[in-house]
């Protein structure tokens, strides 16, 4: 590979004019120029759009919906309260989805025909129907039967939905471990459970973590759908404020930034975890 990569470069360097160009194209100076060009283009496009849309921006209105400071101290505004609900629903669903995903992956890999088939049907049903309909089904159909209120219905729907994806990620991570690892462990007399817990999963987790993080981020964003069953999460609060104030774009942009803050935090935490796993 290295030899192949070197060949064309040598051809270029035989021509002094080309060499000067390639040095320029690879210099940091050129990178900066590209960035400036892109930023200018975006800024021009944005300002043109805003001017022509004739929208009257009222950003100064936004802070009051985030938080209030008065004599009695700090008060969270509706958006922050909504964010708290979103984080709460996402966190609980994340834990539950991981557990469901792990259990389903184990079932798919088990020797039992019933377990394999059940897991397959669950995964395919969930992955091939809309989350919105699953949410309605659980809240309006199962909810009254099982006595589930809004919050548990939302958590259950999200967990079942993301769990199906998580199970596929976990399963593929597990089967990617070389079978020699299983054989070595079995040959030492280790049980199935010990083999999974001490040999296979610790290796699989390193491969599973990045795609599982993407799935967790999807979960946080998908949690916006719970507003449809009148849970006052971030999205629902935003809709309520907009209905009163018509601050459509200001509120939605703010909400998007708040989601971004949560997902970026999650990404950072996972990156730290990955780093720790590599250290070990």
């Amino acid at each position: 590979m290295q030899n192949q990569a070197k060949l064309p470069r040598q051809n270029i360097s035989s021509n002094t004019g080309n060499r000067r160009w390639s040095t320029l194209l690879r210099s940091p100076f050129f990178d900066i120029i590209q960035f400036i060009f892109l930023l200018t283009l975006s800024a021009w496009f944005l300002s043109k759009t805003l001017r022509e849309s004739g929208y009257h921006w009222q950003w100064y209105q936004i802070p009051q919906y985030l938080f209030l400071f008065d004599d009695s101290g700090f008060h969270a505004g509706p958006l922050l309260l909504g964010l708290l609900i979103t984080v709460k629903i996402s966190a609980v669903s994340l834990v539950l989805a991981s557990a469901i995903g792990m259990a389903t992956a184990m079932m798919q890999l088990s020797n039992s025909f019933v377990a394999r088939t059940t897991a397959k049907i669950y995964v395919e049903t969930i992955r091939n129907t809309p989350l919105l309909i699953q949410l309605f089904f659980i809240y309006f159909v199962l909810g009254p039967v099982l006595g589930l209120s809004r919050f548990p219905s939302a958590v259950l729907a999200l967990s079942l939905f993301e769990g199906a994806y998580a199970s596929e990620i976990i399963r593929s991570g597990i089967v990617s471990i070389h079978r020699g690892q299983w054989e070595a462990s079995y040959s030492l007399g280790m049980s199935n459970i010990d083999t999974y817990l001490t040999v296979i999963l610790p290796q699989a987790i390193r491969r599973i973590l990045p795609p599982l993080t993407s799935q967790a981020i999807s979960l946080i964003k998908d949690s916006a759908l719970v507003s449809t069953i009148a849970i006052y999460d971030l999205t629902m609060q935003a809709q309520a404020i907009i209905a009163e104030t018509y601050l459509t774009f200001e509120i939605w942009f703010t909400v998007a930034l708040m989601y971004l803050a949560v997902t970026l935090t999650l990404s950072l935490i996972v990156r730290q975890m990955e780093h720790r796993f590599r250290m070990n």
Binding site: G180, A184, L188, Q203
Partner: protein, 252 residues
């Protein structure tokens, strides 16, 4: 199949009429029988695809046989999980590609199963592990990770890992085939030590020098069948079968 008076108490491994066909239709074992006595070193040879590795892997239940009978130290290998586990405790195995656990230190590789299977305390397991690592000559690498070791060192760790379970029988599945030539010697030296300690060993190997020097008996197989089984001396000097002579001419 065996009544008790037929079992020779000296025989620690009995494999009778083994048949095994893989899902792709390859017949790996075809009515193959073999036995090994306590303290014996047996080398299994034969052309590639002869079923040598499959035979070893059936002995500790890594592969299931279709029919036949395997008895190791009076334990019958069958569908009962307790029996399978009991046999795996008796039988240590060393693989061609070492199969060390890459996410664990050498010490942890060797001590893990002692804790999980034998339920030894961590301290006890680590002491045994250090002894075993000293035995194979790499106690100083206890804190290293497998990818920091050479192939020869990794294979010696794998041997120590199997020995730490105090097995009665050791299986070597082409233990030196994946090694660079200059590292084969160090692994064979450990295997020779083990043989002179009186360990019962079944080795699938292409190392004819090792076979000649260390083994008591040679089993020659082809297409899943037993072609010839005789003492090492006879195998190399006057093999009975025409096929064996042809094989020996090719490799020596």
């Amino acid at each position: 199949m065996f009544s008790s008076d037929e079992i020779n108490p000296q025989q620690i491994v009995i494999a009778a009429n083994l048949c095994k066909t893989f899902e792709n239709g390859v017949r790996a074992l075809d009515n193959f029988s073999a036995h090994v006595e306590r303290g014996e070193v047996v080398v299994v040879v034969g052309p590639s695809g002869a079923g040598k590795s499959t035979f070893l892997r059936c002995l500790n239940g890594l592969e299931d046989i279709d029919s036949g009978e395997i008895i190791i130290d009076d334990i019958v290998l069958n569908d009962i999980p307790a029996n399978r586990l009991a046999i795996r405790k008796e039988v240590g195995m060393v693989f061609q590609h070492f199969n060390l656990f890459p996410h664990m230190t050498v010490l942890r590789n060797v001590s893990l199963a002692q804790q999980k299977v034998k339920k030894n305390s961590r301290g006890e397991a680590e002491q045994t592990s250090l002894d075993m690592l000293a035995k194979v000559g790499i106690a100083d690498k206890a804190g290293s990770y497998p990818n920091q070791l050479s192939g020869g060192q990794q294979q010696r760790v794998a041997i120590a890992r199997a020995l730490a379970m105090n097995p009665r029988v050791m299986l070597f599945d082409e233990a030196t085939s994946a090694l660079d030539p200059e590292m084969i010697g160090e692994v064979l030296a450990v295997m020779k030590d083990l043989a002179s300690d009186g360990m019962t060993m079944i080795c699938v190997s292409h190392e004819m020098g090792f076979a000649k020097e260390v083994s008591d008996r040679i089993i020659f197989m082809e297409d899943g069948k037993l072609i010839e089984e005789c003492s090492t001396l006879q195998f190399f000097s006057q093999p009975a079968q025409e096929r064996t002579r042809a094989f020996l001419e090719q490799i020596i």
